[in-house]
């Protein structure tokens, strides 16, 4: 039997609804199947350590460690450690560093004269600079350490090694600290 015109129209309307839903969903799903395109964006400059710092295997709680090798003068290591709170205290950490160089511990009263400010890292940051005999290598070594409290964490930066290498690297080390996260 031939369909009546109104039945035909009804069928068309229904088809449109169904096709509309299927088409809509397919369109939506096909949106994700488009091949991705090359994206271009700008990001802040990433801090990069001085060129002569080579990556080294980190020890214990250290976050990063680098090695500076000088074919003539020897080598030095640079490390960053972040600890919770005051990281055990300023005096204790400085005496720990002094111990690594075979130096006598200092008293609280004598601490002040060892400390130098590091304005680039804020008012709470201090720098110490010692030379002694490394308890590990039994060679003369120099240590430049910076302790900077930032909120609930304390950051310990250490440059330690052959005195000549430390001397040559000190400026680059201090310049890199503000960017070193």
């Amino acid at each position: 039997m031939r369909p009546k015109l109104y039945e035909f129209k009804q069928g068309m309307t229904l088809n449109r609804i169904i096709m509309g839903v299927i088409g809509g969903v397919t369109l939506l799903l096909s949106a994700c199947s488009q091949p991705p395109e090359i994206e271009v964006y700008t990001i802040p400059a990433e801090p990069t350590p001085p060129d002569n710092w080579g990556f080294a295997e980190r020890f214990g709680p250290e976050k990063e460690r680098y090695e500076i090798t000088d074919s003539f003068f020897g080598k030095a290591n640079v490390s960053l450690t972040v600890l919770q709170g005051d990281g055990g205290g300023l005096l204790e950490n400085i005496n720990r560093w002094r111990g690594q160089l075979g130096l006598e511990p200092v008293e609280e009263s004598g601490l002040e004269e060892l400390l130098q400010p590091v304005p680039a890292l804020g008012n709470d940051a201090v720098l110490v600079d010692f030379t002694g005999t490394s308890q590990r290598s039994q060679l003369e070594e120099r240590l430049v350490g910076v302790i900077a409290g930032q909120g609930e964490l304390t950051w310990f930066y250490k440059l330690m090694g052959a005195p000549s290498v430390v001397e040559k690297s000190r400026e680059g080390f201090l310049a890199y600290l503000p960017d070193w996260h």
């Binding site: 109104y6 229904l14 969903v25 700008t42 802040p44 964490l153």
Partner: protein
Amino acid sequence: MKDHPLLKLLTSLKVTIALLVISLIIIFLGTMSQRPIGLDQSLDRFFLSWAVDSIAMKAALYQTAQLFNWELTPITPEQVVGPHGFPVFPGGFLVGTLLLICLTASFYRHFTWSAKKAGIYLTHIGIISLILGQIIIDVFKEESFVHMERGDRKDYAVSFQDNELAFLLPITNDDGQVVSNRVVSIPEPLLKEGATLTHPELNGLSIKVDRYWKNASLLTARQLVEQDRQEQLDLEKEVLETVYDIMGGRIRAMEEHLDENADSEKREVLTQVKAGFFEVKGAEPNLQRLASSLGEVHEMEKRVFGRADEDSSLVFNSESVRNLLLKVRAYEDQRQIASLFDSATHDVLTSTNCTLNAFDSNATDFQEKIRLFPGETSDKMIKGTEQFVKRIRSRAKMYYVGADHGRLGRHFRFVKNELPVFKNDERDFPAALVTVNHPEAKNKTVGTFLFSSSRGLQQVVEVRDDSEESALIDKWKAVLRSKHHFIGFDLSLVDVKWDLYPGTEIPKNFSSKVVVEDGADPRTILIKMNEPLRNQGRTFYQQSMTKNQLGDAEQTTLQVVKNPDFQIGGFVVSTASIPYIGCIIVSAGLIYQFMFHLLGFARRQKKDQLKQTENKETEGAGNE
């Protein structure tokens, strides 16, 4: 129109229930398939697809059969990562779309403006929003993660699965200081072999993809040899397993014999032989010790069964056992030759820029040295060396890439294709060998570089002109890495806590204390398992943690989910809110419908009571 047979079919309750039942089956099978094929594959092949393919279905059925201890053939990793099978069952998208059509049709068919049915309509609208919202979220959501340790500060999250080849060009200010980096990110799907990629922001660079590996491991020349040695060991272990099975069977047979014919002296010796066998089985493969243990089993068989030395049923007299031992010896010889090759040619193998020719001639020299070695070199050794050299040269030829620029390519000269992974806790490490060209460079070529996401190493791509001075045009940094999603603010990790229920190892709570710096004053936020951080359209959920050797929580992983936003009449609506809106609409519809009927019922009851009171009063008045 509203009586159209198709419309009737679509609005029938039976069809909707059938679709809901199919949904339940998909959910069940999809969940079962997660173990054999991994979460991502399961999601893609059961829920985010129009049809479930036969391989995914087989994996789900295999896992289901395990519940009932039925034996089904498991699918292999090659099948999982290979081409999908043919469609065998409706997928999540198909069922979702059909449900959507049914709901829309039902709405269309039954809709008439009526306060009585407003709740039902609202409920339908809510369910349609839920289904549509879920589809939109599935299609457009972006998932990534941030992995940090205490003190880290990050302004990006990385994708779980997607990778990118990023070219970074430092942008300097007038003083020559680098102030920012322009990043040109080439998504992994564009890294097809033979493709040449250009972009106006690449300053004339064109990147031709010579080779691309979806998952690969990089090897030095020395590692190539070590891998060969390891493969010989694996092959040897396979043969040994068969030998151990035979020996174990022989020992069991003797035990059974002694069970029936008790002999305490023989039993004691057999126990010693068995102990020796287990010792050999548990130790590193060693032919000499294996032969000695086999000899003991052989002797024991003679004693237990009273057989003569030449009896062919004894283990050492078995032809198949002898053949297996010959195989073990051949593999062991090959391992020894590989070790000898490594130590004899250590300098060549560890030199950088080891070319295929250098490797080949080194292998040939080694073969020659073995042949001409002063004293007696057995034919077996000469033949074994020939076999080794042939194999290692063919392997080197197969894996050699020989990038001429970049730190990675100079160190790792070989790339081995690996089977793509599919488990949730694994990820592919793609690698690409690309030739970078520039119209002003010498011969228009900057060089061929090897990249691998397994190393995540930034390599310098220096573009120099063709002049005598080779003046620097651009100094790019390039890296193949997990796709970075920049989050628009800085996130620093201050502390992580991994709390356990007292006296147990059961985790009670994971939490990460972070500092958010997004232009306003830095603020400290504690992210817990069910308390995510929401900022700038992204939600950061506590996902996992790792401990250091001392058992202290050290690193945290936050899952980052971003759902797209859209605008309606000036209001920004996050797609993440669609399910919530849908739920509110459904709830409102149900409450309305329930209250409407409840109030109607209460009204009718009150009316009936009034009527009854009136009737009683009328009857009372009549009686009076």
